[in-house]
Symmetry: C3
Subunit: 158 residues, 3 copies
């Protein structure tokens, strides 16, 4: 079977939507597809390191930086989260049902060579610097995403 | 005109988003397209029967089972729902404007031969068994969705 | 490079999602692509004029008309909005980071010849008349969107 290409825009940082994105992305990569994930806006929070050197930030971006989740471990459910209880419940269910954790799914995505792009404009807006995000990302504009999407047979916005 | 194929991932169980999904799916099927809907995560709630035999479930899945909507009749709006008042208002408006009800749209989708797939991994996570969902579904993994999407010209995540 | 076509369904009226939609749409148009945006359901609120002649509306549609945002200036964030404070903060950040305002992005979309379609069924449901929306729209059904999507290489639901 010919290799096909797929792209996913990860716009959301809801635990459940990010889970869906990585299950689809890893499934496609396991089938031999070329997969690109373009993380933009809230989706960038999936890529944040839990701990980073403090940066001088403006007031608004400093507030955002505190409030937004720092990596997969802090994501919350899109609904019925009840102060992170929902996401914790989902993590327990995933363990119980032998579904890989979100952290493992991100790791698998890297191991499978999924290309991960971070949207520079969104990073500027949210005040996120390159060293606050995980390694091996491409920092790009929307044109780079569009070029990938043009070559792909399946493109999703999540 | 050649038949083309379309796939929709129904991830959400918001009344308004599910409405959009079925309007698009039925519209495409009416134009002669091959349509596949892949219900995953909250979207599975669209397929739940209102009443089913009680199942023994773990504590978390039992709670989820109670809380989550059981079929189209219990879905709520994505915003401004005010304890189901919003969805009820939308149902009234749909009647007033001669728009098919969500239940009718689901029925039409079946009659038009739209292929409906339920995501097995999500069923395991949410603790939903096959006999709790409506008839004539295919129970599949993400690979089956991806195979359908590969053949399709339009793929949406809703 | 050959011209390719892209379509975006703008279903949401969340400030942040609409921003994403217009950044993608304008980016594609700037690269020479043919772009069609299909505004449906809450997404129609992006197209509302701030002030219009009063219309006689039924009770429900009159209430909706009051409650729903009237154009880009009244959109709120999908999360952490705190009574429009979040959207205002985002507007300030956009100014600070030299990102075009949403109003400017809509203007650019028109100038670049992006085709804007408004979903008639949703207009009926929400009680929005043609003269309540901005100029130069096509008022169409879902079949017109599907015909555009069939010719496009990238189709997103936002």
């Amino acid at each position: 079977m010919a290799t096909t290409k797929k792209t996913l825009i990860v716009y959301s940082d809801d635990f459940d939507k990010v889970l869906a994105a990585f299950v689809i992305a890893n499934g496609a990569a396991a089938m031999g597809d070329d997969v690109t994930m373009f993380f933009t806006f809230w989706g960038l929070n999936v890529l944040r390191k839990p701990e980073t050197e403090p940066h001088e930030k403006g007031v608004l971006q400093g507030m955002l930086s505190e409030m937004m989740p720092k990596g997969p471990g802090e994501l919350t459910l899109s609904k019925a989260d009840f102060g992170k209880m929902g996401a914790q419940m989902m993590r327990n269910l995933m363990r119980q049902e032998n579904v890989s954790s979100l952290e493992e799914l991100v790791e698998t995505a890297k191991e499978q060579g999924i290309k991960m792009m971070a949207c520079k404009m969104s990073m500027d807006l949210l005040g996120l610097r390159e060293d606050e995000l995980v390694d091996n990302l491409e920092f790009v504009g929307v044109a780079s995403y569009l070029a990938e999407a043009d070559e792909a047979s399946v493109n999703l916005f999540i």
